[in-house]
Symmetry: C2
Subunit: 450 residues, 2 copies
Amino acid sequence: MQRFKAYVEANRERFIEELSDLCRQPSISTQNVGIAEMAELVKAHFERLGAQVQVLQTGGPPAIFAETGQGERTLLCYNHYDVQPPDPLEEWHSPPFEPIIREGKLYARGVADNKGDLMARIQAVEAYLAVFGELPLRLRFFVEGEEETGSPHLAALAEQYADLLRADGCLWETGGKDEGERPTFHLGLKGDQYLELRCRGARSDLHSANAGLVPNPAWRLVWALSTMKDMQDRITIDGYREHVRPPTDEELAALERIPFADQAMRQAWGIDRFINGVEGTEALRVFLYEPTCTISGFRSGYIEEGSKTVLPSTAMVKLDLRLVPDLTPELALRLVREHLDRRGFQDIEVVSLGSLPAARSPLDAEIVEAAKAAAVAVYGHEPVIYPTHGGSGPMYYICQGLGTPGVMTGVGYPGINIHAPNENIRLSDYFEGILFVGELLRRFGGEEGI
Amino acid sequence: MQRFKAYVEANRERFIEELSDLCRQPSISTQNVGIAEMAELVKAHFERLGAQVQVLQTGGPPAIFAETGQGERTLLCYNHYDVQPPDPLEEWHSPPFEPIIREGKLYARGVADNKGDLMARIQAVEAYLAVFGELPLRLRFFVEGEEETGSPHLAALAEQYADLLRADGCLWETGGKDEGERPTFHLGLKGDQYLELRCRGARSDLHSANAGLVPNPAWRLVWALSTMKDMQDRITIDGYREHVRPPTDEELAALERIPFADQAMRQAWGIDRFINGVEGTEALRVFLYEPTCTISGFRSGYIEEGSKTVLPSTAMVKLDLRLVPDLTPELALRLVREHLDRRGFQDIEVVSLGSLPAARSPLDAEIVEAAKAAAVAVYGHEPVIYPTHGGSGPMYYICQGLGTPGVMTGVGYPGINIHAPNENIRLSDYFEGILFVGELLRRFGGEEGI
């Protein structure tokens, strides 16, 4: 531990400079800006570690695969090298691709999401090799370049390169400390099925005087939706709830250990109570274990100021379905379609605009145990373990889909401003993150701590 | 009849010129263009008839009141001198304020809606006086200048000048021949209560991952709406249907006599069937006698291309309620509010954006009888009598509100293009319209026909 720490300390300025170099290179996947250059930079860093590197072509931005080390166990690190566009530029206090340190924080687009996570892992390997000579396990990196556009090729890549990617544990991206400065891990993500429901009436908008005769697609969607979730917010799609696994006793106990600031959330959001008045652990259970059925958008007819007596000819709803592990995107889509058909809503078109399966790792997976032990060693106390996350991401393809348990972890804190102006990380978190990865390599590799 | 007709024939060119002059003067109330000039023109025409003229100030465009003639009965003519804006200009074949005759039609903005109706009435009075020396009744004109902006001062004017405006019968504006060249009268209009329902959730839009906890205003509106009309299109607002008067046997018989081209309507609108499969007279009954509850607009959340995983903080519905006589706008608004409150939707704000009471005249009113007789005399066959209209207008304030039965009549035909480019009337309809007004003055005045 001391030697590893001393190495990191000794190389502090260079490490910051390497991270800054990575952030200086724009890599905006949505706009195809700097992608090739960034892929080269990442590749060069892995080659400098002595890793075997492969560039995996996807049709979009290439993914970089690297492997180094030997051992009984295999650890996979998932990261991405692309970033969000920096807009709105005028809200940045300094140019987004000119990294700058202010008050102990490094500001740059992508530094938190997730070039900082990636570089901390690379530098931890460098330090480990410098101090101990070799890694205690087989270490693989998979760094994609299109996470910010929804990882469109990830499922196919995971299938094609399953043997390269399969591992005994995975460090996923994103994480860090919570409001109470507690290191926090999430062991899964919800799935998602994002639907558009479309309905048509007459050939064109008509005068609303004809409303007694001509079907109104907005009413059709209202009626259809009203059969899918009741006023108590219970999803009533036929057969849906059968696929919702209740939390185990161990999971419920884990929820009890999570400091969940539900009152602060309500205050921040300006609401008096959560749906059905849930609070505390019960609110957390709903947040993590219940699927959702959200109207994310509804458009029909005249929507500007004032009145227009129109009978709309089209109506559209965006429906965001957050999914739990047994409720796959394919199953959710089929249940919705059958539910609507059974009620005479064959005229409503259901189109999937994107989907992700849910991911959830066992609380007692070895990678989780190793991460907990490493956190205690580095941060001095137990981490907060979320059995899963309320949000969604493509973890399933790389983790559960290949039989690999995964842990979300990173060098963030609540003020990182990801996907927003003035994205930043705290340098103290960054260097602790390097120590954490070093500890985790050692422990997951079966050693006793650095 | 022959002498009246001969007078009109002899003055044909001047009559067209007078109408053209009226159309040459723009009078766009929405844009306050040419209103004062137009009011002066109208006033001058009435003065030339020897009428007593009053300019009624409203705060907006003034209304012109004129009275002439003596007799037991009083007839009121309602018209308006303002017109719709002419946009889109590029779709006009000739400039909208440069009246031009092509193939027997006079093209100009406002010629159908409703300077043609107004001028035909004025010229009928001129002809009547020239041929018979005096009118057989007391004739009053009320010509407002803000019908195209929703007649915002009409209710107040009608109350203030009730004694001036009260009459034994009223000729309302708008009407003419139907697709089968049959003269057509409507004896009423539906009312309207145009509502905006607004709902708020969190302080700002949130990530949809929070949807299990944070109330979604779009769902709130969907649930509320689903209690207001069922899937069979029956309005289920508490207490609403009690105020829907079924048609009398006489009214049903009148419906049977109306040639209602429901199949052609379905074809034009591109729909296979009307709601609940209604056809023919039953469809007409629904169209004329049933109130409606129409979603004219629905907006919430993300409504552009693609997906955005957002939990909306606001949702808004435009609800157009077409009303029947006993269901006043005030009553409809109160029933909606109470219905929502009773179901726990106190959080939904209900705002009226405008309202009109329904108007309906008895089928056997003397003004209706006179209009029928005049139509037979001029057009050679029975007119088509609609007991009411599916659309709405401010007739109530001037007619039923003052105890005056009214008939909608005018010089139009199905191709007049009102509120659209290339507005026009057929000159043959115009001159028949003058004869019709002459016949009607005579008959409603108690004489035996001209």
